[in-house]
């Protein structure tokens, strides 16, 4: 196990794509210390900014980061195997394009966490930022598979263009949850802000709390007693089931818990 701690507080952004199990594998501690990162415009070595130690007796997690990493971006980007544990906050693009392995954040994580992720697991024990699991600007292929669990809240535009996999949010979700979603599942334990599922054409969003306001472009379909989250878990209802986004001729489904959404009762007349 490699342990990394910051040597000082950082002002400007640090891009550290090299903090990645795939990159560390097969390198000596000295090699790792000399890996290049950028602090602002300046290229420095990992050792310039961080204390790095190795503990050969422990296998997993492969990398442990302890301290404030909120200005450090792109940790575990494109990682295929292995496990990274971050004890503290972490910056943007953590686990972007993850195609395997595991990233556990014991703190908050920044925007674009798990962006365009394909496989693997990301667990955030604090809050996760805007655009979690959403793709880069102008891209219309989002998360394809894997699992993201957020124990806190998430920001806006989470799960945009999602095609597969599961996002489980134990707190509340911001605006535009599941925007333009094509497939996969998003589960929200608590409340959900406006414009949930806007422009979605497939997939399902399950909301166990209150929906602030449903888009007018959704039409009520039925009331279902329960809904499957994945192969093993089921959410107990009853749920209102909404179909949409009809402006996109979509067939995505929003499940809103009946008990917590009395405002949706106006839709019952169409059932």
């Amino acid at each position: 196990m490699i342990t990394i701690t910051p040597k000082r507080a950082f002002t400007v952004q640090i891009q550290a794509t090299c903090i990645n199990v795939d990159v560390f594998t097969g390198k000596t501690i000295q090699d790792i210390k000399n890996l290049p990162i950028t602090e602002g415009k300046e290229t420095i070595t990992l050792n310039d900014a961080f204390n790095i130690t190795e503990n050969k007796t422990v296998e997993t997690p492969n990398i442990t980061l302890t301290g404030d990493f909120s200005k450090v971006k792109r940790i575990g980007q494109g990682m295929k195997t292995g496990e990274i544990v971050i004890n503290g906050d972490v910056g943007m693009h953590t686990g972007e394009k993850l195609s395997g392995g595991k990233i556990i954040v014991n703190g908050n994580s920044g925007g674009w966490t798990g962006s365009e992720m394909k496989k693997g697991l990301i667990e955030v024990h604090g809050n996760s930022g805007d655009y979690t699991a959403s793709p880069y600007r102008g891209t219309s292929t989002g998360m394809r598979g894997g699992l993201i669990i957020v124990y806190g809240n998430v920001g806006t535009d989470v799960g945009c263009y999602m095609q597969g996999g599961l996002i489980r949010i134990n707190g509340s979700a911001g605006r535009y949850l599941g925007y333009h979603m094509l497939g996969g599942t998003i589960y929200v334990e608590k409340d959900c802000a406006i414009r949930v599922g806007a422009c979605m054409t497939g997939g399902k969003i399950i909301i166990n709390g209150t929906v602030e306001l449903l888009m007018p472009t959704f039409t009520v379909d039925s009331i279902k007693p329960k809904v499957k989250i994945d192969a093993t878990q089921t959410a107990q209802g009853p749920f209102y089931v909404f179909l949409g986004d009809i402006a996109e001729r979509g067939t995505g489904k929003i499940f809103a818990l009946k008990a917590t959404n009395p405002t949706c009762s106006s839709y019952e007349k169409y059932l």
């Binding site: 793709p135 880069y136 600007r137 102008g138 891209t139 219309s140």
Partner: protein
Amino acid sequence: MTEILIKNGFVFDPINKIDCQKMDIAIKDGKIVKKVSESNAKIIDVSGLTVMAGGVDIHSHIAGSEVNLGRLIRPDDHVKDVVKKTALTRSGTGYSIPTTYVTGYRYSKMGYTTVMNPSMAAMKAKHAHEELNDIPLIDKASFTLLGDWWFALENIAKGDFKECARLVAWMIRSTRSYAIKIVNPGGLESWGFGRNVHSLDDEVPNFCLTPRDIIIGMAKVNTMLNMPHTIHLHTNNLGVPGNYKTTIDTMRALESVYQGDKPIGHITHIQFSSFAGDNWAHFKSGAEEIANYLNAHNHMTVDIGQITFADTTTMTADGPFEFALYELGGHNKWVNSDVETESSGGIIPFHFKRKNAVNAIQWSIGLELSLLIKDPWKWFMTTDHPNGGPFFHYPRVFAWLYSRKAREATLKNCNKKAQKKSLLPSIDREYTLYELAIVTRAGTAKALGLKNKGHLGIGADADVSIYNINPETTDIANTYKSVRKAFGNAVYTIKDGEIVVKDAEIVATPSGRTMWLDVQTKEPCRINDEMKRKFKEYWTIEFDNYPVTDHYIKVPEKISIKASV
């Protein structure tokens, strides 16, 4: 200026009928000269290498409002292909529409030295020239979109070709351009109200004329003005199954203007206009019919617009076509950009896939045309960058031309239905390096009327490209991969007598020149009050602010021509 002597190369110079001759090329003051003294000159020994004139691209969208809008909407495309700054070169991004500097560098690495920017809305000409200034290492020129210009339409409808010619001359000068570009004649004007024309004889709403009138009228105007290039035509019905008939109609219509000497029209990216079949389900190739027509007639030239199977960005002034393409589905972005009184435009990111039947057939059509048109001086190699694929895919296209094996390797991976429909397995033709030099430099330079380009004769511009191909020892068709690589990585590119690329690395970054025509009409163009009044009515820019001034052209090369009106 330094003198250079290129020694011992195998020279291919079709204009001067030099085919793989071992000879020296001498350069002085940016021109090819008879000889230089060996003691003063920098001597480059290129034994065992291929020497050609710098490549001349007849049709590649590299700058302008449309191109830049394409760049702007595709961050997803840029992030895949980033270029770092070096001590000498600027940073930038690709992929399908590289940024200006990167465009210059990449062209130069392939040994290209002249590129035509074929689609410039007159109103947005200043923008195009500002961008062209930022493309280093290559000479360039632009073609103005004039096929749906209200002034032209009105005068053609009236039958006043002389006045039309004078106006066109004024416009060519005011926009600092090189040729007349016509895109979907009549269609763009119709698109102003969301409609299109579907044959040569559909009437253009509100203007009392047909696409046929526009094409013939403009060809006449082009002749009257003694333009070095012919009209550069993007046909009606482009991208519609069965459109090969419209294309042949168009070529037939132009027969009446042909005077028997030099070609009268150029149909660009003809691959997109050679579709047979009634609909997309019955889509098939019309290449044979088109090639047969071209083999029997001499009044036309064409360029291909080859598909290279890339995630690219299609862009054309043909607004209605792009909308039709968008309506086929599967695209997330659609841009339409109409230009008042002149033109329109559209952009769609498009991924040409081998496994898609239509795309694969399109790929096949391009190559069928290239191989079935017998005379290489009649057709030229382009990908209609970025429509069929980005320009830096040219070496792939070369490989398909000179190697049957390369074609087979690609066809094998194509859609099964497309494989069955393709004529390629029945064609044995393989291009020689000599023929390749025709379709990439000699022929294009000739068609464009560029007397100093595309060859290595005395007095020509010293634009030279040298590739690591030994024509004596290499079987290019069999070792197509290494030859392909050599075409993408020039050993030397020399631009105006300066070595700009060495071993596929940029070593100098001079600005290229912008060529433009000063068309001198016998009667000076009448910018009278009537026209000024019309200007105010037609455009939202003042007459004084409309023309492109010298300020917008960094290194101009004015070419004066005398018109016969």
